[in-house]
């Protein structure tokens, strides 16, 4: 496949991937070939969630997606969430609640929380825990992350009402 190319649609933009080994993970291609390093790589075996992206509406680990099989998929990374450089409500709530310490797990969590709230705007505490159970944070102990999600949830409900 080295002389061929494939096309990925990431954050609404088509990217041609050329001269790539076909077995590369989507995580690798995003970071090293498409210049989108917001998605983080740690375990590379689907345990930590730091590489979470949205693919065709599902939150998945990009380390477990063979990039060359993701043609025709709609891929959204953490870079695709902010509008005009302004933080999203979820990103702002993580800042406000102190849900960020070292920051390495943050992009994956932000993507997972957007996926949750877009699907279920009023999740219970248990549903929040379930939704981010695949995103491991070694700094915060999760308390401020849960608080950030609750703040984003409540703010969306208030804006709606």
């Amino acid at each position: 496949m080295s002389n061929e190319f494939y096309r990925l649609r990431v954050n609404g933009v088509d990217h041609d991937v050329r001269d790539a080994w076909a077995g590369e993970s989507l995580l690798y291609v995003l970071r090293e070939r498409l210049g989108l390093p917001g998605t983080k790589g740690a375990c590379e075996q689907g345990e930590c969630g730091s590489c979470t992206v949205i693919m065709d509406g599902e939150a998945v680990c990009s380390c477990l997606v063979m990039a060359a099989t993701a043609v025709e998929a709609d891929i959204v990374t953490v870079e695709g969430l902010a509008v005009d450089g302004e933080p999203t409500d979820v990103q702002q709530s993580f800042v406000d609640a102190g849900g960020v310490q070292c920051g390495f797990c943050t992009p994956g969590l932000i993507v997972a929380v957007h996926h949750l709230l877009d699907r279920n705007p009023s999740p219970s505490d248990l549903e929040i825990k379930e939704a981010i159970s695949g995103n491991i944070c070694r700094c915060t102990g999760y308390g401020r992350i849960f608080e950030a999600v609750r703040q984003a949830r409540d703010a969306r409900a208030a804006n709606k009402g």
Binding site: M1, S2, W21, A22, G23, E24, S25, L27, Y28, R31, E32, G41, E44, Q45, G46, E47, G49, T52, E58, A59, V60, C61, C63, L64, V65, M66, A68, T69, A70, V71, E72, A73, A112, N120, S124, L126, E127, E130, A131, S133, G134, N135
Partner: protein
């Protein structure tokens, strides 16, 4: 992050990928190259690739094959047919979870939400790990595995399909297209233990299916033998001790003996996840617990998770 470029020598640089959109396209690619690796959700194969545990020269991807993501209930035959690519995330939610509750319970124990959005029974069967969470359920339900190739179709009992650790009878030119399980009236449940309570690969697992109409209890054990095994001795012994039609009368002593007999039927090993001794003990507890749950009709609640 590891560089896949640096880690792969030039002879492995050329790798062909078939992004099939239909079963026929996938079968055509497999007919040409039966050594091609089949990828559905990627949760097994990509770990091998990322850690350079395998060299691959061609891949057939099923991600875009919509036919494999369908399931349907046959009301006349009282069966449920699940496409090989249906993700666990779908099995754990209504309406599919209502048709095979043990499968839903097993699906909820698989990895994280991200993994459950990708993983499938086709992948579980294809990889055929003794610790695969879907496999004890398929065994306890006497599932049939549907295989297809360009030269025809065949149906294989799940018991004959699994032949060893990560070994099954799928030929290289064949695709696992679906499994069929019976719709059973009565309790069914799945339980497992690992080194923690979530995001964990089973150290031991068990699935119990009570057919309250036929009066049978079927128990399958995972991660305690080269393949998932049925505790047929314990099943037969239980049937000889008490009527299993309707809600069974099960004393704690009976359940304990059932668990002990089930534990005697497995052949666990010591490995990085657990020890043979612990696994055997765990099976006795899981089998006992599942039988008591069957007797009290207490299915595990979803505990407030709306899916």
């Amino acid at each position: 992050m590891r560089s896949p470029i640096g880690d792969h020598s030039s002879e492995h640089w050329h790798m062909s990928i078939t992004n099939a959109t239909t079963i026929d396209e996938a079968l055509a690619a497999l007919a040409v190259n039966p050594k091609a690796r089949v990828i559905q959700g990627g949760t097994d194969l990509m770990v091998e690739v990322n850690f350079n545990r395998t060299t691959i020269d061609s891949v057939v991807s099923l991600r875009r094959v919509a036919e494999l993501r369908r399931w349907h209930v046959d009301d006349d035959a009282h069966t449920l047919r699940i496409g090989a690519g249906v993700p666990y995330a779908e099995m754990e939610r209504p309406p599919l979870c209502d048709h095979a509750p043990a499968l839903a319970e097993a699906a909820r124990t698989v990895g994280s939400p991200q993994i459950r959005a990708a993983g499938s029974l086709g992948g579980n069967l294809g990889t055929c790990s003794p610790a695969g969470d879907g496999l004890p359920v398929l065994s306890a339900l006497d599932a049939v595995v549907h295989l297809r190739s360009q030269s025809g179709s065949r149906d294989v009992s799940v018991h004959d399909f699994m032949v060893g650790v990560k070994r099954n009878v799928r030929r290289g030119d064949e695709l696992i297209v679906a499994v069929t399980v019976p719709l059973v009236t009565g309790f069914q449940g799945y339980a497992k233990v690992g080194t923690r309570n979530a995001m964990v690969i089973s150290a031991a697992s068990a699935c119990l299916v009570h057919d309250a109409v036929a009066g049978t209890v079927r128990l399958a054990l995972g991660a305690v033998a080269p393949t998932v095994v049925r505790a047929r001795g314990a099943e037969a012994w239980l049937a000889s001790q008490t009527s299993l039609v309707g809600t069974p009368m099960v004393s704690e002593a009976l359940a304990r003996e059932f668990g002990a007999r089930a534990a005697a039927e497995c052949s666990p090993i010591d490995d990085h996840r657990s020890t043979a001794e612990y696994r055997r003990h765990a099976i006795s507890v899981l089998a006992q617990r599942l039988l008591l749950r069957a007797a009290t009709g207490s299915a595990t609640a979803l505990r407030g998770i709306r899916q």
